[in-house]
């Protein structure tokens, strides 16, 4: 029980440090400040990831894990059996890395959608990408006839949705945020109906899998998918960070951005596509994990301000830690069974968010 508190405390640590440090004077974002906050949050990601290696349904001696870690993953002389080592290296570690990548990806997409659509309620799923991915995934889960596998079909569904939503929203030479939002809502509603249809015709066995997928399931992790998701996250981060200062201007208004020299339509499409693809990949490999992409950007905004050059890296790193911790709880709280990680993110995310909101006021 104690180690759960420890894990939770480590997650809270950067929030405490940052809220304590927030000086009233001159809090403009500089490269140095981004690097400082970035390294703090990166350190937390590592600590959280290593700590969560100690959690699992099979009882492995903690001091042995410790020795195993210190010796750099060399099992000899640590008292770990081959099975233990396999569990650590091939089951726990990939899943932790996977949770970190997915959490970062969702937070990054949330930052972009909130800023670009100037809507604090936006999350990575607001354009219906999750709905399309879910239809793809459920079709594969239930019919099992698609050659692409579950995540492949989900990604196909996500891509189709992106094309569809942008096609609906795009007029002659511009992409209006409100139209885009509406198109997303409509497409999402349509796909929800399809999802309901698929679920109501499902057999009991596939129903369990379907429900898990819909609430977020990180147990599907395989190295190939992890590497792919990681690659997309890094590429997406680089693209978005390049446009982060422009995103600041667009978060005020598109008119302002134009007046200050931004090529608005081009920037908007690049950012939306980058965020959509990141979301698409994350959803395809992990299902629909709610709340991370909504609350992590808000937490970081309250702590660090609205400048996206700070907000983006901070949200990605904190999103990673957050989802690693949430998933650790999800796979251990009712061990040997598992909870969908989306249940945990919503259960602890919502009250935490309320706390931050109230403290600010």
């Amino acid at each position: 029980m104690l180690k759960y508190f420890l894990l939770f405390f480590v997650l809270l640590l950067p929030v405490l440090i940052l809220s304590g440090k927030k000086s009233k004077i001159n809090r403009v974002v500089t490269a140095g400040r981004v690097a400082g906050v970035g390294s703090l949050l990166l350190a937390v990601v590592f600590i959280v990831a290593l700590t969560s290696l100690f959690f699992g349904s099979s009882d492995i001696d903690a001091s042995s894990i410790f020795q195993w870690l210190i010796s750099g993953g060399n099992g000899a002389g640590t008292g770990l059996s081959d099975t233990d080592e396999t569990i650590l290296f091939s089951i726990r570690l990939p899943r932790i890395i996977f949770a970190g990548i997915v959490g970062g990806a969702l937070a990054a997409a949330g930052v972009v959608f909130q800023g670009l659509l100037r809507n604090p309620l936006a999350d990575p799923y607001i354009l219906g990408i999750s709905g399309g991915a879910a239809v793809g995934a459920l079709t594969a889960l239930m019919l099992g006839i698609l050659p692409l596998g579950v995540s492949g079909s989900a990604f196909l569904g996500a891509i189709v949705t992106i094309v569809l939503v942008y096609g609906i929203a795009k007029t002659k030479n511009e992409l209006q945020s409100t139209t885009l939002l509406l198109a997303g809502v409509i497409v999402n509603a349509f796909f929800s109906a399809v999802i309901m249809f698929l679920i109501s015709t499902a057999s009991d066995k596939s129903l369990h899998n379907a429900m898990f997928w819909l609430m977020g399931d990180l147990s599907l992790a395989e190295w190939r998918e992890i590497a792919l998701a990681g690659l997309f996250l890094i590429l997406g981060f680089l693209i978005i960070f390049t446009y982060a200062r422009h995103l600041n201007l667009m978060a005020i208004s598109e008119e302002t951005a134009k007046q200050l020299g931004v090529n608005v339509e081009q920037t908007k499409i690049i950012l939306l596509l980058a965020a959509s693809l990141i979301t698409g990949v994350a959803v395809s490999v992990s299902g629909i994990i709610g709340f991370v992409g909504l609350i992590v950007p808000h937490m970081m905004r309250i702590l660090l301000g609205s400048d996206h050059r700070m907000l983006l890296p901070a949200s990605i790193l904190f999103g990673s830690s957050f989802l690693i911790v949430a998933d650790t709880f999800a796979r251990n709280l009712i061990a040997p069974a598992e909870l969908p990680v989306g249940v945990i993110t919503a259960l602890c995310g919502a009250p935490y968010f309320i706390y931050l909101l109230r403290r600010k006021a």
Binding site: V29, T30, H246, Q259
Partner: protein
């Protein structure tokens, strides 16, 4: 010497011509007013001048260069805009907002440097907003907000400042404060100012020259004395006004006339007690 040449501009939304056959020069260092009723094309004209809308006909030349050949960032180094938008979704600080004025001068990857901080600082000083530097823009009053917007525009270091009804939501004190500040910048910094306003008296008070639009065409242009006349206003606004010359300012002044005036204060019958 003219900084902007507007030549034979025509602009339409779909089939409706909003601007037609508009030509005039904006001279360096002048204070130009654009007035006209709602829907006469004032804001569209301003957006065509700073290149946000592309004209269907004619062209805009800025310092002799056609606006079609200018990139957005190059345009933003020459022209700054202060409008009346009053809504920000996210709580940027005043300092951050004013530094955003440096955007056209920075490339994508660069953070603001010493020069930029210095320029932003000066802009805050000039607009008397330095004490607000760490406040969130969403916590400012209307007058403070518009001064911060001027500071942002100044941080762009523009040659021309376009104002789109900047005082629409301000009370008379803040209207006068706002335009006094703009006039000071206009005179001391050789800043060329073009403003749209619905307040004809304010336009007459501050502008060197006024252009009057009606249905997307130029009705007349000239100094305030020539433009602000009973006849012109009747024709353009279809409203009866009295025009006289203010003894204090020497500028033309309009008085609204109503066909249903309230009874004179002195002549009102005493209420029965």
């Amino acid at each position: 010497m003219s900084v902007v040449t507007v030549e034979q501009i025509g602009f339409r939304y779909n089939s409706h011509w909003v601007l037609k056959d508009i030509s005039f020069d904006i001279r360096k260092g002048e204070f130009l007013g654009i007035i006209g009723p709602n829907g006469s094309g004032k804001t569209t004209l301003l957006k065509v001048i700073n290149g946000i809308l592309k004209p269907e006909e004619g062209e805009i030349r800025i310092n002799g260069i056609s606006s079609k050949k200018m990139k957005r960032a190059a345009m933003a180094k020459l022209i700054a805009v202060v409008a009346q938008d009053f809504h920000m979704t996210f709580p940027f600080s005043v300092h951050e907002v004013v530094l955003m004025g440096r955007a056209p001068h920075l490339n994508k990857w660069r953070f603001e440097g010493e020069t930029d901080f210095h320029i932003a600082h000066e802009a805050l000083e000039m607009t008397d907003t330095l004490h607000l530097i760490n406040r969130s823009v969403s916590a400012l009053s209307g007058g403070e907000y518009q001064r911060v917007m001027i500071a942002r525009a100044l941080a762009q270091q523009p040659q021309i400042m376009l104002l789109d009804e900047p005082t629409a939501f301000l009370d008379i004190k803040h209207q006068v404060d706002f335009f006094d500040l703009i006039k000071k910048l206009n005179m001391n910094q050789e800043l060329t100012v073009v403003t749209i306003t619905h307040d004809i008296n304010l336009a007459a008070l501050y502008c060197d020259r006024i252009i009057m639009l009606r249905d997307g065409r130029m009705q007349c242009e000239g100094n305030p004395d020539d433009v602000v006349t009973k006849e012109n206003i009747m024709k353009v606004y279809e409203t009866a006004v009295a025009v006289d010359k203010s003894l204090e300012t020497g500028r033309p002044r309009i008085t609204l006339l109503s066909s249903h005036p309230s009874k004179e204060a002195g002549a009102s019958p005493a209420l029965p007690r």
